[in-house]
């Protein structure tokens, strides 16, 4: 029962974290990295 509650709490907390990240501009930081070729990822950065 405790574990079941923990699951839902964790899920809600994750949603809240994603929302908080959007409001602080993190989603934009991710976008700026993901939408342009990452030289480090491809091994020349």
């Amino acid at each position: 029962m405790k574990l079941r509650a923990l699951r839902y709490i964790l899920l809600l907390a994750s949603a809240a974290m994603i929302y908080a990240g959007i409001t602080t501009g993190e989603a934009e930081t991710v976008f700026r990295k993901a939408a342009y070729i990452c030289l480090e990822c491809i091994g020349i950065g």
């Binding site: 964790l10 602080t24 501009g25 991710v30 976008f31 939408a35 480090e40 020349i44």
Partner: protein, 317 residues
């Protein structure tokens, strides 16, 4: 059953999440809004086909930007995938896990003997038709090497990107830059093949990353998923959720005869009957197929069975 469905599912998932065909044709990457969202698996966002962001790359990008002490956004995605699925992500939703599964199917590197992978997944019968052809599962030192991925998660993904910074307070994505073979395979090689100006910039770093990729590829032919077992920080992270996730495995103790067939079938070499929610379990389902008594079930199957029996009770009343 799942051993037949799983490769198809993995292929379809990989095609859906990396389906930007124009990227492959023109040597460019996708720049649509969906690039703000993380996929569950290790899927490089610089892959020409990628329509989404890699969680491990994104986590480093936020941490090394010098603007945030913690990434609520990316950790939120990772925790959500973790609590819903745990390492089911590894078994079913990760392109680099799929690549390693395919490499392990290459019919070389068989060895006769105990403690090694048996059965149809590893190739079935040998030429003489009587002994089962077997492949090794684990590298020597397996029980210590499995902890390496936690060190990589802590140092290469979190500590080094945050602490080794330049005069502007910005760091490097250490895991992407110095380790990740998924980035080299899915992004580096296709990008450099199609994009001539980038080819001019190849240097020592690319040689190092290609070396890591070649080692991982070769080991994956001989051993089952060495990168997932020993090196992947994302698998390490999801492993923490296996016991608490919505998707779990259960062993019915009344049915289990402790024959060990589940462990023989398991590429991750887990004693499923003892520890069905091990941090190493990638939820591939091979143990469920192998179990002669049907003792292993997943929480999803139990839920579906419950819903069905509720439905049929309602119909009959």
């Amino acid at each position: 059953m799942s051993s037949k469905i799983r490769p198809v599912f993995q292929a379809v998932w990989t095609a859906l999440t990396n389906g930007y065909v124009r990227g492959f044709m023109e040597g460019k990457i996708y720049q649509g809004e969906s690039k703000k969202l993380c996929v569950p698996g290790l899927n490089c966002y610089s892959c020409p086909g990628a329509r989404f962001a890699c969680p491990i790359g994104s986590l480093q990008a936020v941490l090394d930007s010098g603007q945030y002490r913690i990434s609520l956004y990316v950790l939120g995605f990772m925790a959500a995938f973790g609590v819903l699925l745990g390492r089911f992500v590894c078994g079913w939703l990760c392109p680099f896990g799929f690549v390693q599964d395919l490499l392990y199917k290459i019919p070389i590197g068989y060895k006769k003997g105990a403690g090694q992978r048996k059965g149809p997944e590893a190739g079935g019968k040998s030429k003489d038709g009587c002994t089962s052809r077997v492949k090794r599962k684990n590298l020597p030192g397996h029980k210590y090497l499995i902890y390496l991925k936690y060190v990589i998660l802590a140092f290469f993904v979190v500590i080094l990107p945050m602490t080794v910074t330049n005069f502007m307070g910005m760091g490097d994505p250490w895991f992407c830059k110095y380790v990740c073979p998924s980035g080299t395979l899915l992004a580096g090689i296709p990008m450099l093949i199609m994009n001539e100006p980038l080819r001019g910039a190849i240097g020592a770093l690319f040689s190092w990353k290609t070396f890591i990729l070649v080692v991982v590829v070769l080991l994956s032919i001989w051993y089952y998923r060495p990168f997932c077992k020993y090196l992947c920080p994302l698998g390490a992270f999801y492993g923490f959720f296996n016991k608490a996730a919505f998707y779990r495995l259960n062993v019915n103790e009344d049915k289990c005869i402790k024959c060990g067939k589940c462990q023989s079938a398991c590429g991750m070499d887990i004693k499923t009957w003892e520890n069905p929610n091990s941090m190493e379990c990638i939820r591939c389902g091979d143990c469920k197929t192998a179990c002669p008594t049907g003792a292993i079930t997943s929480s999803m199957e139990e839920l579906i069975r419950e819903l069905k029996s509720k439905g049929s009770k309602e119909v009959s009343s």
